[in-house]
């Protein structure tokens, strides 16, 4: 809201309605306060208003952390804008804090002069103590930098529901709707979307629906009647490309992408998986897609999950395993089996903070080198990364396409940030999706298990049940063409070269790198994976400040696009921001002997646009350009 504002001619009644380009709202409360749902509703409503948006949930690792504690705070941040945005925002303009712990955890992020809505009913001694406050922050002047709107949300919720025959606990549960009503008023959003959703969701429990609707309206009315805000804000619709949209989280997009790949290839989808944060939703979602012929197997461990997928691949399925970093480590031996047997397999790694158990619910991009090298022997495989929630859909299709075409396991990297974050997804036409049809070998004439396609070097996919093609594969080195076990030194060299060459040849299919900005110059910001939004936002801002900066993003980490070396050479400086300690930078230096500038962050949180911007300014010697 710090961006330029145009004042509406609304002299009639206070408060005035101010148009702003964008706002960032964070809903924070106890795990049981329904903050994820509240944020999701604000998101849906804003989507239907026509805003561009991006969301970022933040929830504790503990399932039921003690009530009122810092560990139990659950938050949902959403950024809405009247233009094309790429991240859920750096700092909130408006914070809703349902208790002292939520306030304590988020207040440091709130912008100066930002709007702070607090449920004062929860600011009693016990809760203050649990949050570690010695004085009540609502009374000690420590919030003077913000526009505080105190509201007895619990009390007013109960008052609104006096007439309804519900117990106190049930009434408490609709408190979040009061807060949502207040925020809807502040940003002049229509209530209809949420009312419709509530009526549908609680169709079988009309009393609950009624209570929530009542409280939602009460929140709005409270603000309107008591003039809570001096200014209200409005974000106009963004000029989104024409089309049909839905809001999508990365794990959902990835799951739907896998089903799409299955349909477009004509191969049944088989997922072998073991629950692990933040990848479990892929298992949940695909398990629900039975009418699409999807088989999901919740295995006894990570190794069984990938091994089962390999078995399914041998049988002719589009085989997938989904996991996060620690699980990928467990799967490494089996992934090598897929490399050796040259079977198609998609390994989805939704990265999280490491090492070891690390930060399960927090994001990081620190498995790149594990994906590249975390296996015994010379074992290259394609590695591709999704760059945004919606991009997970396309990346899943691409990973499947490459796996099947080249008969190779592919690692798809996502991370907790885009897996749980959401953005509007412009829905594709089904007929525009890539055609992944593939043919199994059926002709016994001249069949050899490792006879290769001249172009792709892929071996034939000959599935059990095909008469005359009985053959054996396995983890021992195979003689090229015949597939017989071979310990021959020259053959091992040949097969090692072939396995590498097969992956390298994929580069011929990678489209040229899209550079945003001049194709040469002083500074290129190059990223991969989920940093795309922050890089785009930060670079665009730098350009608005008159700085000469270009940016580009890599989907393929292995093989690198064939024009990458040239691109790096055309810039004086290359900045590589990544949420690890410099893994892509290491790969680029090794491969191209270019001393890229590594920008790293491992704080469990995505980059802010402002951080990228600051680094760009610094490199271009433009600290004073503001």
């Amino acid at each position: 809201m710090s961006t330029e504002t145009k004042e509406e001619d609304q002299s009639a009644a206070p408060p005035k309605l101010e148009a702003v380009e964008e706002v960032v709202v964070r809903f924070a409360g106890d795990s049981g306060d329904g903050m994820q749902l509240t944020g999701t509703q604000f998101t849906s409503t804003s989507a239907l208003v026509g805003n561009d948006l991006a969301t970022l949930p933040e929830f504790p690792a503990e399932i039921r952390a003690p009530q009122g504690t810092l560990a139990g705070v659950s938050a949902f941040q959403v950024r809405i804008a009247d233009y094309d945005i790429h991240t859920p925002g750096d700092a909130p303009d408006c914070l809703v804090a349902m208790n002292p712990a939520a306030l304590k955890k988020s207040i440091g992020d709130l912008k100066q002069n930002g709007v702070l809505i607090v449920n004062t009913d929860e600011f009693h001694d016990r809760n203050l103590k649990k949050a570690g406050y010695e004085e009540n922050p609502l009374e000690d002047g420590s919030l003077a930098a913000y526009r505080v709107t105190p509201a007895e949300i619990t009390t007013m919720t109960h008052r609104a529901l006096e007439e309804l025959d519900l117990d106190s606990k049930a009434k408490n549960r609709s408190r979040n709707m009061f807060a949502l009503g207040m925020v809807y008023y502040l940003f002049n959003r229509p209530l209809e979307t949420t009312i419709g959703w509530l009526e549908q969701k609680f169709a079988k429990r009309p009393k609950i629906a009624e209570a929530n609707v009542k409280v939602l309206k009460a929140g709005w009315n409270f603000c309107e009647i008591t003039d809570q805000f001096q200014v209200r804000y409005e974000v106009e619709p963004a000029s989104l490309e024409p089309g049909v949209y839905r809001n999508i989280m990365g794990n959902s997009a990835l799951s739907i992408g896998l089903v799409a790949a299955s349909r477009r290839s004509g191969l049944p989808l088989f997922l072998g998986s073991y629950p692990i944060t933040p990848a479990s939703d892929i298992l949940h979602e695909l398990a629900a897609y039975k009418t699409f012929g999807v088989s999901t197997f919740q295995a006894e461990d990570e190794i069984a999950a990938v091994a089962a997928a390999i078995g399914a691949a041998f049988g002719g399925a589009l085989a997938v395993t989904s996991t996060s970093g620690p699980g990928l480590a467990l799967k490494s031996e089996a992934i090598n089996l897929a490399i050796m047997t040259e079977l198609p397999l998609v390994i989805c790694n939704v990265q999280r903070g490491g090492p070891s158990t690390g930060l399960p619910t927090m994001t990081e991009q620190s498995d790149l080198l594990q994906a590249m090298f975390g296996r015994n022997g010379e074992s290259p495989l394609p590695v591709i990364a999704a760059s945004s929630p919606a991009d997970c859909f396309d990346t899943a299709i691409e990973a499947s396409r490459v796996a099947v075409k080249y008969m190779v396991p592919v690692i798809l990297l996502s991370d907790g940030y885009i897996a749980n974050g959401s953005e509007p997804w412009r829905l594709p036409q089904v007929e525009d999706l890539p055609d992944l049809r593939t043919e199994f070998r059926t002709d016994p004439e001249g069949f050899e298990p490792y006879l290769r396609d001249e172009q792709t070097l892929a071996r034939p996919w000959a599935i059990p049940g095909t008469p005359g093609l009985e053959h054996r594969i396995g983890g021992l080195e195979k003689e090229n063409i015949t597939g017989d076990v071979s310990y021959d030194p020259a053959n091992h060299q040949l097969m090692t070269d072939l396995r590498a060459e097969k992956v390298a040849r994929i580069a011929d299919e990678i489209p040229p790198i899209q550079v945003d900005g001049p194709a040469e110059g002083r500074l290129l910001v190059l990223g991969w994976g989920s940093t795309k939004g922050a890089i785009t936002g930060g670079s665009q801002q730098a350009r608005r400040e008159g700085l000469e900066v270009s940016f580009a993003h890599l989907r393929y980490l292995n093989p690198f696009p064939s024009d990458l070396g040239d691109l790096l050479d055309r810039f004086e400086h290359v900045l590589i921001p990544e949420m690890n300690m410099g893994q892509l930078a290491t790969l680029l230096r090794a491969r191209y002997l270019v001393d890229v500038i590594s920008m790293t962050k491992v704080q469990g949180k995505p980059f802010f646009r402002s951080e990228i911007l600051a680094r760009i300014r610094e490199i271009l010697g433009a600290e004073d350009v503001h």
Binding site: V244, A260, F270, T291, G474
Partner: protein, 348 residues
């Protein structure tokens, strides 16, 4: 085209690969037995898949002229599970050993059994690690002196049958490499069973653990030292069929017919007993006080995992109709932006 199956013979299942087990290894007999049984099962050759892990026994698939997958150490049940779950039309067999199945792959073994995956597990038990050249295995007897236990092992062995029964296996049997007709019968019955079949095969490793089972299965002692478990038959053994096993209170005991007992006093074996308690007790028997039971200890009918998986998919499609990609992508809360930038709810 004729729909009749071609007549298959043992030769059809012999691959062109040179068999490279040590001369005199018990594995040869097991291979021969499987190659004899497969052609008799009435299944087209291309439907067979033999999956293995790592170890001497796991070279098995290379010698079978079927589809085969030589996997990684311990993971054969998991590979076979994915294959069978996605391709229930296939006849999937696993060749594994005591180290592969019960040590590095123990987790996969028990979960495959508890799920009742329709795969047949042939576990070659030689009570030693052969391929890594002679370390003790999880079935080696206490005090086993090997390269890795020069003054004797101090850990207690698994009883494979007990482990399988404890995991809820629906078909549990024990055979012996040198008892071919008996083993063939078990293999045929394993095939006929729906769901997991666990078959422990006593297999002699003549290099690292020679004569491990000699005191039980050598021809001259076999009738005294083993008891053949037969469904519906009393547990009688001995060269002269003059001994038996009865249930006395909560314990099994050997009775001698010379002492006035007869076959009617012996426990009549019920392999289909849903309660595995007696099978577990039987599995515990062995020297020095008891004969070693061989044959099918348990054979109960339960739907298999792969059946359940396919059934759920079929039922969901029957109930809700087959999903289309179009409806999957265009689901949830949609909004449309038209050419003029107007936003409307739903799909315009």
């Amino acid at each position: 085209m004729s729909t009749e199956l071609p007549v298959l013979t043992k030769k059809d299942f012999q691959s062109d690969q040179e068999v490279r087990w040590c001369p005199g290894c018990g594995d040869y007999a097991i291979l021969s037995c499987v190659q004899t049984v497969f052609p008799k099962l009435g299944i087209p050759k291309e439907k067979f898949v033999v999956v293995s892990g790592i170890g001497c026994s796991s070279r098995f698939p290379y010698y079978m002229e079927t589809y085969g997958f030589h996997g990684i150490h311990g993971r054969a049940p998991a590979i076979a599970t994915g294959l069978k779950a996605s391709r229930p039309d296939l006849e999937v067999w696993i060749a594994t050993g005591d180290g592969d199945a019960m040590s590095i792959g123990g987790n996969h073994l028990i979960h495959t059994l508890r799920r009742n995956m329709d795969v047949k597990i042939l576990m070659f038990n030689n009570r030693i690690y052969g391929l890594t050249k002679g370390q003790y295995s999880p079935t080696s007897e206490l005090g086993k002196v090997t390269k890795s236990t020069p003054v004797g092992s101090v850990d207690y062995p698994f009883n494979p049958l007990s482990l399988a029964l404890g995991a809820g296996a629906t078909f549990v049997a024990r055979g012996v490499d040198i008892m071919q007709p008996h083993l063939r019968d078990i293999l045929e019955r394993a095939h006929a069973h729906t769901g997991s079949a666990f078959i422990e095969v006593y297999q002699n490793c003549n290099i690292f653990n020679d004569k491990a089972f000699e005191h039980m299965v050598a021809k001259q002692v076999r009738s005294e030292q083993t008891v053949e478990v037969l469904h519906g038959e009393p547990l009688v053994f001995g060269k002269e069929k003059d001994k038996g096993i009865r249930l006395n209170g909560t314990a099994l005991e050997v009775i001698r017919f010379a002492d006035g007992f007869g076959p009617d006093d012996c426990l009549v074996w019920d392999e289909a007993d849903p309660n595995p308690a007696l099978a577990f007790m039987m599995a515990q028997l062995g020297p020095p006080d008891f004969p070693t039971p061989i044959g099918v200890m348990r054979n109960v009918a339960l739907p298999s995992y792969d059946h359940g998986l396919v059934h759920q998919i079929e039922e969901q499609i029957k109930e809700k109709g087959a999903g289309t990609l179009e409806e999957l992508i265009y689901s949830g809360e949609l909004w449309s932006v038209d050419q003029s930038g107007q936003v409307v709810r739903g799909r315009a």
